[in-house]
Symmetry: C2
Subunit: 206 residues, 2 copies
């Protein structure tokens, strides 16, 4: 792509650094901004700049929060004995939107992934272990994605916690409600058969 303007080229380059956005899309986005009032670009630029400068993480669960202790950790009606271990704030938002969970969260900030140079030290695993050591937690729920990195991370944490008197569980994997068996992938289907649950229990929880 040959640009007649360095300013334009530079803006397109920076936008195309974002994941999933190529040069063509970046150019389309930049030209869109140029057609809108200046204030729209100013608001965008301010919102991103302010976020990156002032971003804070909850001191307890490490989720993104504007205050030191986030609203979930601060909520006295939450069950402090159950902690759900997730990768990032999107998972917290997804689980919260179900309205089915009244425990706390622990946001790891990623998964162990040697390929990407992410080891246990890059994540908030030590902080999790300290929480367990303090004795307040009775159950840890692993809710990381079921990839090799997710399984590795689960297993690493599980090993670190040997000897502590806590229950660990992972969220159920299986065929989605309303999904048809014939379209399910074999791994999921196989796992959902091995991890079958008593019918009476399923009835109670449906």
């Amino acid at each position: 792509m040959e640009f007649s303007s360095k300013l334009l080229e530079n803006a397109v380059y920076e936008i195309s650094q974002l994941p999933g956005i190529g040069k063509r899309t970046a150019l389309r986005l930049v030209l869109h901004l140029l057609k809108q009032p200046k204030t729209q670009t100013e608001h965008l630029v301010n919102a991103l700049g302010t976020l990156r400068q002032n971003i804070k993480f909850c001191k307890t669960c490490h989720s993104i929060s504007d205050i030191d202790i986030c609203d979930i950790c601060n909520n006295p009606s939450r069950n402090r004995a159950i902690v759900c271990v997730v990768e990032d704030i999107r998972d917290v938002m997804a689980i919260e939107s179900t309205g089915q969970y009244r425990g706390l969260y622990h946001v790891l900030g990623g998964k162990i992934s040697p390929m990407d140079g992410i080891g246990p030290q890059e994540l908030t695993i030590n902080s999790l272990i300290q929480k367990v050591e303090s004795g307040e937690i009775q159950e840890l729920i692993f809710a990381l994605s079921a990839t090799m990195e997710g399984d590795t991370t689960n297993f690493y944490i599980y090993k670190q916690l040997e000897g502590f008197d806590i229950t660990t569980s992972t969220i159920a994997r299986g065929i989605g409600v309303n999904d048809e068996l014939e379209y399910a992938d074999e791994v999921t289907l196989g796992r959902s058969i091995r991890n079958r649950i008593p019918f009476e229990k399923a009835l109670r929880n449906s």
Copy 2:
């Protein structure tokens, strides 16, 4: 979507104002930026802010340019008698990349579209008429998209130029080179038959 951070919500909102980017994608992009070094966000914010503040348009062809008269308009080896009328800078870049065109351009900045509140006054049509009046132009090539808005704009300009001694043409529409007839839409195929060209001419231009 429920956010635990106003700063995060604000950044996601502003990014989701861009065309084709929903709230979920916006959140993914923002979380990506938060994982990268601060400098990446700073560069992005600077590039967009500087572009929007200092954007300039070539005084002759109205394409985006960092200088008063763009490199194409300034190039003495370009044929000043032929002007290709396009919608925006992306079209200039696309035609330039073919290496087949040695005339100048005129960037309208859009198409006439009453539905979007874009009339002839919002575009650079007056400036085009003035160029024609000055007598330097012998041929205008319309290269707007073949939509209703594009056709309307072509026709509007064509009507304004009645009485001037210039040739007007439009780029050929037809089946793409290497495209199969059976997959072409009927409108394009029909037009390519009505606008068929002498075989000897096609041979010369292939």
